[in-house]
Symmetry: C2
Subunit: 177 residues, 2 copies
């Protein structure tokens, strides 16, 4: 069971750089792509920027619907994440192929992925740098998280199917937000 | 001793989301700030986007010089990284305070940090989204890495001085770049 995450804490999920699954809604059903090129842009309301190539099937769906969900997987889903990154939703129902469960989101019409421990519902608010860089600015309009996942073992891609798995945690005295 | 890293491999350093130290050159000497809000934007030539608030002293230096170095620290430098994030270069020589060594970079006039295992020299190429989001687009014009650091234990911030340290590595069959 997931609970709402305060918007002020959303940055703590994306700032460490996890690989995410981005879901969109198309005419013929939902779609999902794997993504690592994203950054937080504002704390509250939470803004996230991400780069999506127009070679991805999701690109057109995101431009058309201006809505998506950023789903954060943990290492137990790594094979499915790679599978979603190696295939195109133009020809394949990735959810069925890789055994991922879609669920209706709360605010946007794109679906979320039930197996991911966090789901961030997004609306595209700025496409002015899409033509030049494929860079979308999105506002997170709903955020839910599985509170039972205490130290999510997120995965972090460094190329060619190599991933680093989130390791131990340390805490240092800090005034940094 | 560091060696050149091919531009085509730069994304493997930044894509996993490490905390970085950004160095700039000011009239009164070098400056450094801690940063986690960055994303790769293109493979080659490597482009990186990052968010820097105009409340940071580095903001003005970067706008004036359009040059910086992104230095990637490992966990042994974590206390210095937090120190740099909790202080302002407007009032303090952070390099002296935290024992970080500046060295001349190869291409840009901003200094690099010797203790960091990777140094990415950057030129700002697009400031059109700085006013709205503090978002800079930069091209990496030189990249050097310490080849003796095989599995860099980078640190990944998730708020309030809490960090995840890069953990074990896994490799999955993938056609993903």
């Amino acid at each position: 069971m997931k609970r709402d995450l305060p918007f002020s804490k959303v940055y703590t999920l994306l700032e460490p750089g996890p690989v995410v699954l981005l879901t969109t809604r198309g005419k013929d059903g939902p779609n999902v792509m794997t993504m690592s090129w994203h950054t937080m842009m504002e704390f509250e309301p939470p803004l996230v920027g991400c780069v999506i190539s127009n070679r991805n099937y999701s690109f057109g769906l995101l431009m058309a619907t201006k809505e998506c969900v950023i789903n954060i997987p943990t290492v137990d889903l790594a094979e499915k994440v790679v599978g979603c990154g190696n295939t195109s939703g133009e020809k394949l129902d990735k959810f069925r192929k890789f055994g991922l469960t879609t669920k209706a989101a709360g605010v946007v019409r794109a679906p979320l992925i039930a197996e991911c421990y966090a789901n961030l519902e997004c609306r595209v608010i700025d496409t002015s740098k899409v033509a030049k860089y494929g860079f979308f600015v999105m506002e997170i309009v709903a955020a839910r998280i599985d509170p039972s996942v205490k130290n999510p073992r997120t995965i972090h891609h460094f190329g060619m199917g190599n991933f680093m798995v989130a390791g131990k945690r340390i805490k240092l005295p800090s005034r940094m937000k």
